[in-house]
Amino acid sequence: LSVPISYYLILSALLFGLGVAGFFFRRSAVSMLLSVELMLHAVSLTLVTFSHAFRELDGQVFGLFIIVIGAAHAVLGLAIAAAVFRSRAEFHANRSTGEEW
């Protein structure tokens, strides 16, 4: 009737690996931001799992902090993406062919 702690940790490790894969394999900046969000979610799951394992609430508090940091990250990342996208006509930093968004 119960699930071992290690299953939760393995799930978290797999999600983190997926996030790393997305960050390295996707060329689109928006997809890379999404992958970083996935990694943040995976770490949050680990913290909450250990919070349960040690019967302490600190892990949940840090999970809350991670959620706030994830929101700030998404806002700033999207703003940078928008700024680069709009000024790309004269920017050409990445020798862009117009396909990486």
């Binding site: 119960s2 699930v3 393995i10 997809s31 949940q60 706030v68 998404a74 806002v75 000024s87």
Partner: protein, 167 residues
């Protein structure tokens, strides 16, 4: 029954995550990320973290809407089909599989098998979280608004910048 639900939500999380990584359309990727977050929120309920679960749900929906608006505004949905291949999938996929295998084996060998999660085992009361936040973690809690303020100011500065100016 409980195990069934765990594997259901775990499979949903992995499936949504894989679809997010495999997806060429960033808009569908954003929706998949919301799916991952919703599955994880259900798992948080099993871990006795009701408050985090609810916050996670709202955060996931908000982030998905933010990404969709940004993609729509940038017109990346049509343009951004991300046709080019990744940096080095031929090298990256084996490295990634090895990394995941190492992680899984470490977790499997280090965590004692008798430590299990049972529904209702541990009840993370919201009042307890609040007490920790305002007593033990007061400084990080007060630093977070500064972080959010910096993020808001940065967003406004980036978005308002004219394409030609370098200010």
């Amino acid at each position: 029954m409980y195990q069934l639900f765990f594997f259901l939500f775990a499979a949903a999380a992995i499936g949504f995550g894989a679809s997010m990584v495999a997806q060429r359309n960033p808009a569908r990727g954003a929706m998949s990320l919301a799916g991952v977050a919703a599955s994880l929120a259900s798992l948080y309920l099993f871990l006795g973290a009701e408050f985090i679960a609810v916050v996670q749900l709202f955060h996931a929906v908000a982030i998905a809407v933010l990404f969709l608006i940004a993609i729509r505004t940038l017109g990346a949905g049509e343009r951004g089909q991300d046709r080019r291949r990744g940096r080095s999938p031929r090298l990256g996929v084996p490295v990634l599989i090895v990394l995941a295998g190492i992680l899984v084996s470490i977790v499997y060998h280090q965590v004692p098998a008798e430590s299990t999660v049972r529904f209702g085992d541990f009840h993370g009361v919201t009042a307890g979280i609040g007490r920790r936040l305002f007593l033990q973690y007061l400084l990080p809690l007060q630093a977070l608004p500064i972080l959010i303020l910096v993020a808001i100011i940065g967003m406004v500065a980036f978005v308002q910048r004219k394409p030609g100016s370098h200010a």
